[in-house]
Amino acid sequence: MQFGIFTVGDVTTDPTTGRTPVDAERIKAMLTIGKHAEDVGLDVFATGEHHNPPFVPSSPTTMLGYLAAQTSRIILSTATTLITTSDPVKIAEDFAMLQVIADGRVDLTLGRGNTGPVYPWFGQDIRQGIPLALENYALLRRLWDEEVVDWSGEFRTPLQGFVSTPRPLDGVPPFVWHGSIRSPEIAEQAAFYGDGFFSNHIFWPAEHTAKMIAYYRQRFEHYGHGTAQQAIVGLGGQVFMRKNSQDAVNEFRPYFDNAPVYGHGPSLEDFTSQTPLTVGSPQEVIDRTLGFRDYAGDYQRQLWLMDHAGLPLKTVLEQLDILGGDVVPVLRAEFAKDRPADVPAGPTHESLVAAAAVKAQAQTQTLAGRATIKAAPGAAFGLSVVDQNVDPSVEPAPVDTTKIDTTQKGA
């Protein structure tokens, strides 16, 4: 299982000092946070994408490219990449480029974005958010999976004889997660492709997240990528920790009370009881996080939001120290217990390459099996000698979209 952090990249006034960082300072802080995430032993750093103040990360692959050079182990990801308003061709190119630069330590989470004006600024209509996400991703998939692409759709200039460069590293595109808070269409899309489903989790009650994930798992199985418990699930989380629980509450409260999204609304106590937000001791965070498994099942990736609402850099780095030092090692051990052997680990470039090799080998053996089938003993009685011993849990089989009946409706 992978543990990491995701950042929204908000520039927010520190309510305890009244100080607001300038954009440059905030961006540098995000880079420091990204590097520190690796130093404390985390597995993933993911950045948001925004095109409006008070958010700074408008160009995620630039940021992640820098971090790729400054780190050696951590997976660089997004939360989220805007599949609606960004050109899927540019996404295909940018992330294939980043994938090479980072030696494969790259994946991405696609999201629609919820800032109304961003759509018209990029020539789109927010009411078309779902159709844009569906069509743009279908194109992105083809740009990575196929060499020469002829394409036409509703939302973008047609392509004739287009080859997206660079080609995916080792012939294996970055793993894709689909992020959504409440749209079953996106869970359905993730399930259809056998991709990961990332639930934001932190802004809504857990019962809601539980239903979305259950739906995704069920549809993942329906589309033939494996059993429901083998579906690839990621969860958001949000924590603030101090050794003594009450110190954490006292220190975090002004940031909570003034935070974007939920500030000036419910009390810290109400919000922690109604959402996964946990403010307290490392042990409380461990207990709460382990509880996610009760409703999400055994999952692959846990990311926390650690650096928003104006928290100063020094505090964020201290939080990462606690997370990496006291919390994640315990979670690794605890989540590993009773985890079914056929539940996949978090996807990495290496696991995707290995799965692709297994698949290629299986195809070769199938062909070889067909070639020898006439001579095989028992063939006359309908006994097949084709090797079926391929582990389906290693990687969900890619979907051949040409063979899928697109008139099939989601239930």
Partner: protein, 208 residues
């Protein structure tokens, strides 16, 4: 005996509240009309004041507290709705509007509704028709033709003696009861994961 559920929403703020009084009278009249048709009615009445902070929190966070969620469930899952607001500054109160703002805009589709309002004078009675009625029409609810407005004088000697408040209430209740008797809304299964019939996971484009 056939059973129907009736939700009553009152946005009155004071105790006692004339808005709540009007809501209760509309409810009682509707129950009695349905009884005449052999239909038993279960009434659930909600004072929005009790969930006022939850409504505003929902506005800010995007999700309802468990307490508000139970109110929304009861209202949207009913067979009929009586919605009554005080008139503030020539329109529905902000609390009343906010409650309907945080409900999913498809959740009241085909809901039989009676609208009512109270105020100090009769001068703002058209607010029912320029504010409340269009709001419920937008939500695809079915608002009965008669709406009931009760000014302060309607509760005492200055009341209309030709079309009295009880007459108006009874007429509205009769219209609502007729729709509630026929609907089976409360028995419909709401599937939040139901996808549009035209949905395709690859979008509208055709693979070449």
């Amino acid at each position: 005996m056939t059973v129907r559920t009736l939700a009553v929403v009152s946005a009155g703020l004071s105790q006692p509240s004339s808005t709540r009084m009007l809501a209760d009278k509309l409810a009682a009249a509707t129950v009695s009309r349905l009884e005449e048709d052999g239909i038993e009615t279960q009434v659930q009445t909600f004072e929005l004041r009790d969930v006022a902070q939850d409504i505003m929190n929902n506005m800010l966070t995007g999700f309802p507290s468990p307490k508000l969620d139970s109110v929304i469930e009861a209202v949207t899952g009913a067979d009929g709705l009586i919605a009554v607001t005080p008139i503030f500054t020539t329109s529905y109160s902000g609390l009343f509007k906010s409650f309907f703002d945080v409900i999913d805009n498809r959740a009241l589709t085909e809901m039989p509704v009676v609208i009512g309002a109270t105020a100090g004078t009769a001068r703002h009675s058209l607010a029912l028709d320029y504010a409340l009625r269009p709001m419920f029409t937008y939500l695809h609810a079915v608002v009965v033709p008669t709406s009931v407005y009760a000014a302060s004088e309607d509760w005492g000697s200055g009341a209309d003696t030709v079309k009295t408040l009880p007459d108006r209430i009874d007429r509205a209740a009769g219209e609502l009861a007729a729709l509630v008797a026929r609907t089976d809304r409360s028995h419909l299964v709401q599937d939040p994961f139901a996808l549009d019939a035209s949905f395709s996971p690859t979008g509208g484009f055709q693979a070449q």
